[in-house]
Amino acid sequence: MEIKIGMNVLEANNLVAARNQDIFQKDQVFVLNIMSSPGSGKTTLLEKTIEALKDELKIGVIEGDIYTDRDAERIKRHGIPVVQINTYGSCHLDARMVREVLPLFNLKGLDLLIIENVGNLVCPAEFRLGEHARVAVLSVPEGDDKPVKYPVVFRESEIALINKIDLLDYFDFNLERVKKEIKEINPELEIFEISCKTLEGFQPWLEWLRKNAQR
């Protein structure tokens, strides 16, 4: 006997993500999901963003890592609410993990909630968390062929940040080619070129955040 199932397994996470987004809509908080390889500079990006905007926007952070709370400890020093999720093996956050920590925040009191995903340029792209926008971070030392090698995360994001541009003179990184290839994968992706060290290029990124978090 044949039984028809007709179900997309990946939908289960999407349903929880949709419920998360309902919560974010109700509490009027703009939510970002930041995805990248380990070491691209996500946590430093968050620190510099918080330093620049914390007098204008109420910011909260969810940190995702397999182990340790080192990233949450760094964020905590900036005096903003942060919760660390440890997956103890899973290579990405999923919507259920995020849903479980939301009660630890006063979401109504936040303008912006930033979720720093587990460092991984592959799997996080498959799992929506309920975010309003997804940010793919690529850094200069990682190489300029990463978008074509890992297209899904760029296809599934709204923003691409090319970080560590202060190191362009030290690496064979063809910035124009990588931007062209990113646009071939996702023409609607907005690209910001930044350095979290020198803060070159940081203003357009901050402006984008201000515009979206203050709606």
Binding site: M1, K4, I5, V9, L10, K183, N186
Partner: protein, 114 residues
């Protein structure tokens, strides 16, 4: 990788569904796996085998996986085409705005049971 977490969800769905019928065992599961998911069919099959061998319902189940190619529809000219070499633009009119219509799923089609 997270194929094992996917298999756990997938086995749960199958077990919940077949509960509605007088089933002794599942003989076949037909699964569609999209080419642009971060899931490897070989790893999925291996993880399934590991989980299934512990369950009377699933220990003789054949997992039939169909890989679904990545297809998109051009928002400009409406043509549907295979996306090859991760070139996400229309090969007919070169328009960059396309919508993916297949190739991103982990879809349980049917199960055969006794």
């Amino acid at each position: 990788m997270h194929e094992s977490a996917m298999i756990d969800s997938f086995v749960q769905i199958i077990e919940d569904k077949v509960k509605e019928y007088p089933v002794k065992k599942v003989t076949k599961i037909k699964l569609k796996v999209g080419k642009l998911t971060c899931l490897c069919p070989g790893t999925l099959a291996a993880c399934f085998e590991t989980v299934a061998q512990e369950k009377d319902l699933l220990k003789d189940t054949v997992l039939e996986i169909e890989e679904v190619p990545l297809k998109a529809k051009c928002k400009e000219c409406g043509q549907v085409f295979l996306v090859e070499e991760n070139k996400f633009f229309c090969p007919f009119c070169q328009h960059p705005h396309i919508q993916i219509v297949a190739g991103r799923e982990l879809f349980i089609e049917t199960v055969e049971v006794e």
